[in-house]
């Protein structure tokens, strides 16, 4: 299959999602736009509660019943997924867009043999005999690196380690032969050595199957490992987007600066630049730039008016008033500048 790198397979436009909750409407996603090109991995990075999972649940059509899609479009294959009926979603979910969650246990049925959990998906996606389904399931188990697949086929989820369970979940996600794979913090609950293997596996199957991947994480190391492009999310908005190099080496939004410099890397000796305070309450999101209250570079306008998205390159955008031509010039924090120089020098 020839891959046209500029072909957009999925496009999210100005998505707004709120939840009816005790005390008011939780404005979880407040105007999110991003796209996914064929064959690439796009990361969404941000702290918990920033709206990452809600955004992709909208793509999968699995929002909670108290969710309200206030506006926006999700374009996929000539459809708007915000308007697709549940019946039609059955044909998309799993078959065309696969999903891997953080917690493999909750994605698996604890009292069903794992072989059956894979063949069930296979039967749903096409008409095949049970022998063929079993054969395909074993192939999938091989592909995701489960040793002794034939014996494992008849075991239950509790008989698998966390890493092996996540491999099964990946096998199930692949069973419908999707073209888009969405990974929502798939390795957050795993140990680093297991995480490394799962990330390798996702990259391998992505190449083999020409998948386009949306990868959600809060770990910048994982972002650097996986992503071609990165969307940085804060308080329900994408505050900066760019190629991996642009985000790591030329970050423009103070929140991205803060994320990049707040955690130590293996060379860090100096005091950490902690971000003061906590993320805002999304029932009453602040006016202006939601990060302003925690941002020492914030200007008066940041508290009053929402910044537009400023274009830095064809691929790099950031929503901060600091990029306005009339804004005072603010340099990258020294700690971050030093770290970026060090990163660029590393091999």
């Amino acid at each position: 299959m020839a891959i046209n790198p500029n072909e957009t397979v999925l496009k999210v436009e100005d998505l707004r999602i709120s939840f009816k909750a005790y005390g008011g409407m939780v404005q979880a996603v407040r105007g999110v736009s991003f796209d996914l090109k064929r064959g690439e991995t796009v990361a969404i990075v941000g702290e918990s509660g920033s709206g990452k999972s809600v955004s992709i649940k909208a793509i999968m059509g699995i929002l909670a019943p108290n969710a309200v899609i206030e506006s926006g479009r999700i374009e996929y294959d000539g459809m708007d997924l915000t308007k697709v009926s549940e019946e039609d979603f059955h044909k998309i979910r799993g078959n065309r867009i696969g999903l891997i969650f953080q917690d493999p246990l909750s994605a698996l049925n604890p009292i069903m043999k794992i072989g059956k959990q894979i063949t069930e998906v296979l039967h749903l996606s096409k008409k095949i005999s049970s022998e063929e389904a079993k054969h395909r399931a074993l192939e999938l188990m091989h592909a995701v690196g489960i040793p002794e697949a034939e014996r494992r086929f008849n075991q239950y989820p509790f008989q698998f380690s966390g890493g092996m369970r996540q491999r099964i979940v990946i096998a199930i996600a692949l069973a419908g032969d999707p073209e888009i794979l969405i990974c929502d913090e798939p390795t957050t609950a795993l140990d680093v050595t297991v995480q490394a293997k799962i990330l390798e596996l996702i990259n391998k199957i992505k190449e083999e199957r020409h998948l386009s991947v949306i990868f959600i994480t809060h770990d910048l190391g994982v972002v650097a490992n996986m992503a071609d492009r990165v969307n940085v999310m804060y308080a329900g908005k994408i505050v900066e987007s760019g190629t991996s190099e642009e985000i790591f080496f030329e970050p423009a939004h103070p929140y991205t600066w803060a994320l990049l410099s707040s955690m130590p890397d293996l060379q860090t000796k100096e005091r950490l630049l902690a971000i003061p305070g906590t993320p805002p309450n999304m029932i009453y999101p602040p006016a202006g730039d939601a990060f302003a209250a925690r941002n020492k570079y914030a200007m008066k306008i940041d508290f009053e008016k929402e910044p537009p998205s400023f274009k830095l390159s064809d691929t790099h955008y950031a929503s901060t008033w600091l990029l306005h031509p009339k804004a005072p010039k603010v340099d990258l924090p020294d700690v971050l500048r030093a770290r970026i120089e060090r990163m660029k020098g590393a091999k």
């Binding site: 050595t193 995480q195 190391g221 994320l259 293996l266 950490l272 971000i275």
Partner: protein, 316 residues
């Protein structure tokens, strides 16, 4: 290790074995197996390793939530592994405090912050309510909270604030040592840095000794003077942070280091993961492994022929 101990905490050949199940299903879990290390006064000793390797059990055995299966433990020269007495319990709670991973589960939901933080003082017989209150307020301020917080309950606080409360509760009795078990693992990135900075400030100010348990190696490296790497109940390598990262010797340490993704797209594109397989990587059929000081302050669990190879690797 030198006979003359300059350690405030010394653990020698510690074993903590649990048995579970009954009859022929009985299973022995060697959660901690022949572990030895020492921590110097005002030093931060990091303990890393993957889940289930025995980090928490090591910490809990030191404060005697468990009776050790075997081995010796000394704090300031005093034996703390022996039979539990009222006096030993008192000695331990006066000197060693623990900070837990989950700030939500470790705080009693029905107690106010003042009661939670002041509990250690009341247990030690401080009866004067005003004095307890004053000390609590002082401690809250130190951890970045205010006296207004004292009358509230844990559920009214964010994760990061709850961890500050946990730290205040641990620090108020002015312990000599803190065992911090994954103190930032449950917190968001932006909050982790706040708590790490706070622990660093308190460490400097109070001259604290810390046993810092975590699975995030970048955080352990940043926070610790020396680091012990655990694998299935055993310590396999102990070294100063920089030495461990620059010249890891044990194949498990190498595997662990090779697996940490760094926030750098240049190095990540070419990352080579190293696998560890004890069956393949060691031959202990004839030669038995022991903990050996390969270079000053650099200990590795290895056999004599592995030792030779490690010495070569270090150019010794």
């Amino acid at each position: 290790m030198a006979e003359e101990s300059n350690y405030i905490l010394e653990v020698k050949h510690l074993c903590q074995h649990f048995s579970s199940g009954r009859g022929k299903n009985k299973l022995l879990v060697k959660a901690v197996d022949d572990v030895s290390f020492g921590v110097r006064p005002a030093e931060t000793f990091g303990l890393v390793g993957e889940s289930g390797c025995g980090k928490t059990t090591t910490g809990r055995t030191i404060i005697r939530l468990y009776n050790p299966t075997s081995g010796e433990m000394y704090f300031n020269g005093r034996d703390i592994a022996g039979p539990m007495t009222k006096d030993l319990r008192r000695y331990l709670t006066d000197n060693i405090a623990m900070i837990f991973q989950d700030p939500i589960e470790s705080l009693n939901p029905r107690m106010t912050i003042e009661e939670i933080v002041g509990e250690g003082l009341r247990i030690r017989g401080m009866k004067d309510k005003d004095e307890v209150r004053a000390r609590v307020h002082e401690m809250l301020e130190k951890v970045g909270l205010t006296e207004e917080h004292a009358t509230r309950y844990p559920h009214e606080f964010s994760g990061g604030q709850r961890q500050r409360i946990g730290i205040a509760r641990a620090m108020i009795i002015k312990p000599k040592m803190i065992i911090a078990d994954e103190p930032v693992s449950a917190l968001d990135v932006s909050i982790q840095a706040q708590v790490i900075n706070l622990l660093n400030d308190l460490k400097e100010e109070m001259g604290l000794t810390i046993l810092f348990i975590a699975h995030n190696l970048s955080v352990v490296k940043y926070f610790s003077d020396r680091i012990g790497v655990m694998y299935y109940g055993r310590l396999v390598e102990i070294a100063r942070g920089d030495d461990l990262y620059r010249c890891p010797l044990h194949p498990y340490t190498k595997a662990l280091l090779s697996a940490i993704p760094e926030p750098n797209p240049i190095t990540e594109r070419t990352r080579k993961r190293i696998d560890y397989d004890p069956e393949r990587d060691h031959d202990y059929s004839v030669e038995k492994p022991t903990m050996v000081e390969v270079a000053p302050e650099h200990f590795v669990y290895c056999s004599p022929s592995e030792l030779e190879q490690y010495q070569k690797q270090l150019g010794l």
